[in-house]
């Protein structure tokens, strides 16, 4: 791919989860959660990963964070190949890639004050202790729009949006280059979602952060991303800049996603179409050839047998479809 060198480069990433069955618990199959995915994210850029449940978008997030080990492929973070690094060797690199979760509450110790939670990475990485740590945490609180005196409060005393701000402050504490954000606003109400999206954009512009932004919500995606990769059953089916994706989508699945989305405008009523019928097949038994052929309105006999490669059809616009 003809993309400038990025802070995060992923090549041919594969993650299969074994399925064990039978009396002896032998491996009987595999869930092919991620099936050969490549992308690059530049400094200050947001790459959106969009797709429906089971498409592998969250698995990609966990794999690049090295929370789970990839089956195959290569992950290069800031020029350093981190693919095969064991936990101890990975440790110093963890400062450079951080994460924000959908539900920050579940990742916070309910018995620790918020200031301690946010300051933990500073201590763990030996960046700051004592007074200095507290000063830094206070500045982080201010930066994400929380009052520094809230450092003494506990996680349950914060609202959903404030907890997400805490999660963001914690991720920022070690000055990472890359943040993996997995559905960070999906659990939030619209009015609070706007606050968090604005904060994420401000921080990116100020600090040059690269975001791998995972979401099922196309409107949120369009708002925050620079480029978007559309995933279906473990594969990227289309990747391009967001303007092109929304104006000239090429993959039939992208088309289906865009046409299925609802718009807050009654005058557009009836324009929405359920192009695809049926459900997403199981990633444990993905269809042969193009994974989308079972639901694709344009599928031909060829699509059932040949797996389409991701081809560059215009500068920066890659699509995996035999027909486009």
């Amino acid at each position: 791919m003809n993309v400038p060198r990025g802070v995060l480069e992923v090549t041919g990433l594969v993650k299969h989860f074994p399925i064990h069955g039978g009396l002896l618990q032998r491996q009987t199959g595999a869930v092919r959660a991620v099936d050969g995915v490549s992308f690059t994210i530049a400094k200050g850029e947001t790459l959106g990963l969009v797709g429906e449940s089971g498409c592998g978008k969250s698995t990609i997030g966990k794999t690049v964070l090295k929370l789970i080990e990839p089956t195959a492929g290569k992950i290069v973070l800031g020029g350093q190949d981190i693919t095969g690094l064991k936990p101890a060797a990975m440790w110093p690199h963890r400062k450079r890639i951080q994460t924000i979760f959908q539900d920050p509450y579940s990742s916070m110790n309910p018995r620790l004050p918020a200031g301690t939670i946010v300051g933990e990475p500073l201590e763990n990485f030996g960046i700051a202790n004592g007074r200095e740590r507290d000063d830094r945490v206070a500045r982080l609180f201010e930066r994400v729009g929380l009052r520094p005196d809230a450092m003494r409060k506990y996680a349950h005393e914060f609202s959903g949006g404030q907890r997400q701000r805490l999660g963001i402050a914690k991720a920022l504490s070690v000055s990472p280059d890359v943040i993996v954000a997995d559905e960070p606003v999906s659990a939030l109400d619209v009015s609070v979602q706007a606050q968090v999206l604005n904060l994420l954009i401000d921080l990116q512009e100020e600090l040059g952060l690269a975001y791998l932004f995972i979401s099922h919500d196309l409107a949120v995606m369009r708002h925050i991303s620079h480029r978007i990769a559309v995933m279906y059953l473990g594969r990227i089916v289309e990747i391009t800049d967001k303007r092109t994706l929304f104006s000239t989508p090429l993959h039939p699945y992208t088309e289906a996603l865009l046409s299925a989305a609802t718009a807050p405008d009654p005058k557009r009523r009836g324009k929405r179409k359920a192009i695809v019928q049926g459900d997403v097949p199981s990633p444990a038994k993905p269809p042969s050839g193009c994974h989308f052929h079972t639901r694709c309105p344009y599928a031909t006999a060829e699509c059932k047998v040949t797996s389409p490669p991701l081809r560059e059809v215009a500068p920066g616009h890659h699509v995996a479809c035999l027909l486009r």
Binding site: S159, Q195, R222, H223, I224, A260, P264, D265, K267
Partner: protein
């Protein structure tokens, strides 16, 4: 559809409260609205605004250990559902009024086949044999377009996908030809392409059966595409009500306006010079419902708020053409 336009369900000054350790939560705090025969009414609002509790109140599914309908009335087919004895309520529920929920898996019985569950409802409410009920069930599964319906009758809920389970719920809810279907976030747990299928199905079935729908959702997109009239709720109160086109074209309440400006849009290219635009935020938080709210519930977050707003709750007033709003400033 005979009698379209006549009022079917009349909710008046509904107050529903829960006892919690923090005190009495006024989840629904004086809500009134009408539902016409064959109409689709959307109720929108954010978490905790009382939209689901309104639905549960209509069905009288408020758990008696913690909550109660404190006052108000719910008139339906000559009954007041707010005070109707439970055994009479049981005859209406699932028959004249039925409901579908966000997560069908939690409302389907995991140890009964899909066919048995639907047929059970038919046998309970209509005076028919199990054989006839099973045939009716088969028809219903076909109606909601479940492929291979004969075989699906004998399957258990866990064997079905999320979209298919929601179709089963819809089949069950419509199995006794209800007058009112209450749908609480029916597509929120579903993927976009499946959501599109279910919304289309609900609209199509509404045309076929003439069942009126109360659609409860946080999603303005879903409301815009399905409802004919919309009630906007905030902190247990109705702040605005309007025909759907009027609401989206000319939202009057500052909260409704704020909500509409806060959502990222897929249909409008708001980008300017390659920069991502800022979304409009609604500052602050929803008020706690454990204390009685003095004045307008939105006043603490509203840019237009005056002393009057903070002191006196605004009544719901007519703004013309079926558009009503509860605001001192935006009329």
């Amino acid at each position: 559809m005979s009698g379209a336009g006549t009022t079917l369900l009349e909710v008046r000054d509904l107050h529903t409260q829960f006892n919690t350790l923090d005190g009495v939560v006024r989840a629904v705090d004086g809500v009134s609205f009408d539902l016409a025969r064959g109409e689709t009414l959307g109720i929108v609002g954010e978490s905790g605004c009382g939209k689901s509790v309104t639905a549960l109140s209509i069905l009288r599914l408020i758990p008696p250990e913690t909550g109660r309908i404190a006052s108000g009335s719910i008139h339906f087919e000559g009954h007041d559902l707010a005070t109707l004895p439970e055994d009479e309520m049981k005859r209406l529920r699932g028959h004249r009024i039925s409901m579908i929920f966000q997560e069908p898996m939690t409302s389907l019985n995991p140890v009964l086949t899909v066919g048995t569950q639907i047929a059970e409802n038919v046998v309970r409410h209509l005076d028919v044999s199990w054989k006839a009920a099973r045939e009716r069930t088969f028809e219903m599964l076909n109606l909601v377009r479940i492929a291979d319906a004969r075989r699906r009758l004998d399957e258990y809920p866990h064997q079905l996908s999320g979209g298919m389970r929601q179709r089963v719920m819809i089949a069950m809810a419509l199995s006794c030809d209800p007058q009112v279907l209450i749908a609480d976030e029916p597509t929120t747990a579903l993927d976009v392409t499946i959501q599109a299928q279910i919304l289309d199905l609900m609209l199509e079935l509404k045309e076929k059966t003439g069942t009126a729908i109360v659609l409860i959702t946080h999603d303005l997109g879903v409301v815009a595409e399905t409802a004919e009239r919309v009630v906007v709720m905030y902190a247990g109160r109705k702040v605005e009500e309007a025909p759907v086109e009027a609401l989206f074209e000319r939202p009057l309440h500052p909260y409704t306006r704020g909500l509409m400006a806060a959502i990222p849009r897929l249909d409008i290219d708001a980008e300017t010079g390659g920069r991502r635009p800022r979304l409009q935020e609604i500052p602050g938080l929803v008020p706690r419902l454990t204390q009685p709210i003095v004045g307008c519930a939105f006043a603490s977050r509203c840019t237009l708020a005056t002393d009057r707003c903070r002191a006196e709750a605004p009544p719901v007033v007519d703004a013309g053409s079926g558009h009503t709003v509860a605001c001192w400033e935006a009329r």
